[in-house]
């Protein structure tokens, strides 16, 4: 077979160039992250095609088609795989990027590989964002409504961009059709167009960790002691790593199946508060630190600057050194950026209103366990860090309005019960009598920070 092919296509030459090169012993599992990302992309393609065979891309049919799919065990599992796959792909891609950055592998002669990698990152985030809307549930509908509104902060062309993204002024069936075609055709095509040369460059130039080896080989030095053959040693390790990732993906998808929320209600009768996918939480949290008119900084200037930094990194960082010790500035700046992003994401995830622990009145409630969750889910959207009376932490709560031991004297209770007008939470249904009684009991017990 190989001979037959070789006679016609000279495949031996090709396989030799792919498989028969030495790999530095310095290279480790972190160098396989790109390959693992590619595996997850393939998994996304397969599960995506399967989902496309049952999905109906209209505002009236989308939710029902997914609900029907959720009713069958295999269908629900494929959807769970696709949803978990999206998380895996974002995480692996970011880790791959960090590894390449740490190794200085974006520097000459690999600038173009980095540039294409940046395109791959943007396309992947685009896929994640557009895919969120497709089930047409509350979560996806409102995350898209908020997400597509962000460009409106761009001067002059902002409002037009919003209409361009939504194919109209609002998120409607037309938006769904647009997102469907972008998710299914445009972004996958872009991803493949960027991936092919990205992969070709890696084959052509080898991994950065092998550069020393190649130089030594050129000098005529024997490198057998410092290297492993790619085939079979390294290739088998790569495959093992990918199998491990695959197993983790299947396991998580099976153990934590993706659920389906309530159908999209553009009138939002249930007062659903939008929240983004977890990987956009960092940006979402950032917005809370920029009051009013400064929103434009968080929504436009910072993402734009981040994009430029990402794409132009090989040309902005003129330091030719690749060793970690010789790049203190680049690495510490990146360290601060990454730490900041991790912190914001963590903060953002934590600030999501927690589910209320239990129904019914708690006789001796603890602040952390019973009272704070009520404030978190009902009050802090207005009474947060933005000023005025805050209910987002104990110290702020105790500044005024609470008289320990005396609920009737506490303005907090009077506002919640409506004896002090206007009743809180304003514009929303009042707290249940159980919730108010729980807060009363906590104040009666001395309003302690317990």
């Amino acid at each position: 077979m190989i001979n037959w092919l070789d006679e016609r296509l000279h495949v031996r030459e090709l396989t030799a160039s792919l498989f028969e090169h030495p790999v530095s012993k310095r290279s480790n599992v972190l160098d396989y992250l790109g390959f693992a990302t590619f595996y997850v992309f393939c998994s996304q393609a397969v599960t995506g095609i399967l989902l496309a065979t049952v999905y109906r891309p209209t505002a009236s049919g989308a939710y029902d088609s997914i609900k029907q799919l959720q009713g069958e065990p295999v269908g629900a599992f494929v959807r769970s795989l696709h949803s978990w796959g999206a998380n895996f792909m974002v995480v692996l891609l970011v880790l791959h990027l960090l590894r390449v950055f740490y190794e200085g592998a974006y520097k000459k002669p690999r600038e173009l590989t980095w540039l294409l990698g940046s395109v791959l990152l943007i396309a992947t985030l685009g896929l994640a964002f557009t895919g969120y809307l497709l089930p047409w549930d509350q979560e996806g509908y409102w995350a898209t409504t908020v997400g597509t509104a962000m460009p409106s902060h761009i001067p002059w062309i902002g409002d037009y961009l919003v209409r361009l993204l939504r194919d109209g002024t609002q998120v409607t069936g037309a938006t769904l059709t647009r997102f469907y075609s972008v998710h299914m055709l445009i972004l996958p095509a872009l991803l493949l167009l960027a991936f092919l040369p990205h992969f070709f460059f890696v084959l052509r130039q080898g991994m950065a960790s092998g550069d020393e080896l190649a130089k030594a080989q050129k000098r005529g030095k024997c490198v057998d002691g410092d290297s492993l053959p790619f085939w079979p040693d390294v290739a088998v390790r790569m495959i093992l790593f990918v199998l491990l990732i695959g197993a983790a993906l299947w396991l998580l998808a099976a153990l934590y199946p993706k659920s389906l929320g309530a159908p999209a209600d553009p009138l939002n009768k249930s007062q659903y508060v939008p929240e983004p996918a977890w990987y956009f939480f960092g940006v979402y949290q950032l917005l809370k630190y920029f009051p009013g008119k400064l929103d434009v900084l968080a929504m436009v200037v910072l993402p734009f600057a981040g994009g430029i930094l990402l794409f132009a990194l090989p040309w902005l960082d003129r330091n030719p050194a690749r060793s970690v010790r010789k790049r203190p500035l680049a690495l510490s700046l990146a360290g601060v950026l990454v730490a900041g992003m991790v912190f914001l994401t963590y903060q953002g995830m934590n600030s999501v209103p927690k589910a209320l622990a239990s129904a019914g009145v708690v006789v001796h409630p603890g602040f952390k366990e019973n009272v704070e969750p009520i404030f978190q889910s009902k009050c802090i959207t207005c009474h947060g860090t933005s000023g005025g009376y805050g209910l987002d932490n104990y110290t702020a709560v105790m500044k005024k309005n609470v008289v320990p031991g005396n609920p009737d004297q506490s303005k907090l209770i009077r506002k919640l019960e409506g004896s002090d007008k206007p009743q809180m939470p304003i514009g929303q249904p009042p707290l249940t009598s159980d919730q108010i009684q729980t807060i009363r009991n906590w104040i009666k017990d001395g309003a302690k920070n317990n």
Binding site: V146, Q170, T172
Partner: protein, 157 residues
């Protein structure tokens, strides 16, 4: 003196080879740009305020200074609109999405203001920002009173 024979075309101002090069790349560019043009045309969103008028109620259904939520049937979705009767023939139709992050605002009759449950944006009865993070007023929609029927259309610029 013997004349040097040149290959045909060489030395002319616009040789056949050059003509073909320019012609082929020119035609290729035009064809490529045409595809981009088709793409841009398809991506173009519908113009502002072009949606058809829909009857949302009778004038008597809307008491003065009491904004009332109504629905407008958009493409596959119901869109939320507040119809505001300001009195003396002045009417407003306000889109119900907060301009901060697009949560749905509520009319709170007790204080006579629109309030957003997400980040605490507050608007007056005309949709102008009173406080909170919203960067601009609530978007206005086309509204027409024809006889005693109240009709609402698309969002205005």
């Amino acid at each position: 003196m013997e004349e040097i024979k040149r290959p045909a075309g060489v030395g002319k101002v616009f040789s056949r080879r050059r003509f073909l090069q320019v012609g082929v790349s020119g035609a290729g560019t035009v064809l490529g740009l045409s595809y981009i043009g088709l793409g841009l045309d398809f991506l173009q969103p519908p113009p502002l305020g072009a949606e058809p008028l829909q009857t949302v109620g009778k004038t008597a259904d809307f008491p003065e200074n009491m904004p009332k939520p109504v629905t407008y049937s958009g493409q596959g979705v119901k869109e939320g609109v507040y119809v505001v009767n300001l009195g003396q023939g002045n009417w407003l139709a306000l889109d119900f999405h907060c301009t901060h992050l697009q949560c749905a605002v509520n009319w709170v009759a007790a204080v006579g203001k629109f309030m957003c449950p997400c980040h605490g944006g507050v608007y007056d009865i005309r949709g102008q920002v009173l406080s909170g993070p919203p960067p601009k007023a609530l978007p206005r929609r086309v509204i027409k009173i024809i006889g005693d029927s109240v009709q609402v259309g698309g969002i205005l610029a």
